[in-house]
Amino acid sequence: MKNAFIILLIFFFGALPLKAEKITSAYMDLNIDQCVLMQIFDYGTQYACEGYKGYPMLVGEGDLKFFVSYGFNAPNEEAAKQTIYPYNFLDNNIEWRLKTKNGAFFPFATILQFSIYLPDEYLESQKTEQEILVVTKLEENNTCHIAYIDIKKTNNANEIAREIADQKAVDFNCETDEIIRITNE
């Protein structure tokens, strides 16, 4: 019911004539083998990967989980501590949501698929439990996950992820707001 309400809300806002604000997507490869190792800890490693036009991107790996954060303050952002339990791996393609700033496109959110698995299942059958689209908002000192969309249980999950990015990212407060969870069940 709550989810239906959210979908309705999105539909409502989506249908409103927006201010003439241009939003677009850029898709980039994400492959840890193409990234550069920044730090090794007892519990994991941190890489820098190429973000949109050089927007800094940090990928952390620890205990069979990934953490992805953005910006020059990436290691200290909330996103650097956020992941999905129990175990996961990342898709090798990332979507950047961009809008114009200073006359050029500038990223304000990303959409990235996390595949969730239980270790036994993954080792035996490469089976994943869930596939979640994670929407992350990008803002210095306010970069965090804002929505989780269950791909297998949601029709047009990618579209919904984009809508949430476009409608919610700007005002989302990483300290006080709750992550939006979408499963059409």
Partner: protein, 180 residues
């Protein structure tokens, strides 16, 4: 000739000392048109650029001078406040010095050519290779090599990068000038 080169290489490798460190260079493009404009005002502008395999680069332009810094903390590193006294611009090719650690190549320094102008058309413009060490919270210029006065400027810059970066303390150590 090849033999001569090989023996020189061996000599250099041996003179590095007991522990054989693998060091190499990679080159990346540094074109502000391909970077992300972070901020712009009357005073200048700042950019994020992609470095070696996505290593973060911060570039700022202010008062007709360039500032280039590295890493996730780039805007807060000393390098972000360092430039040369003359009006200057930077080259579009950036050399990275990389150290092999197991299967990884880790950037520990960069070498970048800066073009200098003192505003007087009568005097020739200058070129300086700036060696910057890369280390979290300790990223700064460590050497200035005059590319017009010094014959093998690139090689000397690499030597400074390889031999002085690791121990250079950005707060207390003084920048090397070649010629001094």
């Amino acid at each position: 000739m090849l033999k001569f080169f090989v023996s020189i290489s061996i000599f250099i490798s041996l003179s590095f000392g007991a522990f054989a460190q693998n060091i190499k260079s990679e080159y990346s493009k540094l074109d502000l048109n391909e970077c992300l404009l972070l901020d712009a005002d009357d005073m200048g502008a700042s950019f994020a650029c992609a470095g070696y395999r996505g290593f973060p680069i911060y570039v700022a332009e202010g008062d007709l001078r360039m500032f280039v810094s590295y890493g996730f903390g780039a805007p807060n590193e000393k390098a972000a406040e360092q430039t040369l006294p003359q009006f200057n611009t930077i080259n579009e090719t950036l050399e990275w010095r990389l150290l092999q650690v197991n299967d990884n190549w880790i950037p520990f320094a960069t070498i970048l050519r800066w073009f200098l102008e003192d505003g007087d058309p009568a005097t020739p413009d200058g070129q300086v290779l700036v060696v910057t060490k890369i280390e979290a919270n300790n990223t700064c210029h460590i050497a200035y090599v005059d590319a017009q006065l010094v014959a093998n400027a690139n090689e000397i810059a690499r030597n400074f990068a390889d031999n002085e970066s690791a121990d250079f303390n950005c707060e207390t150590d003084e920048i090397y000038y070649v010629p001094s």
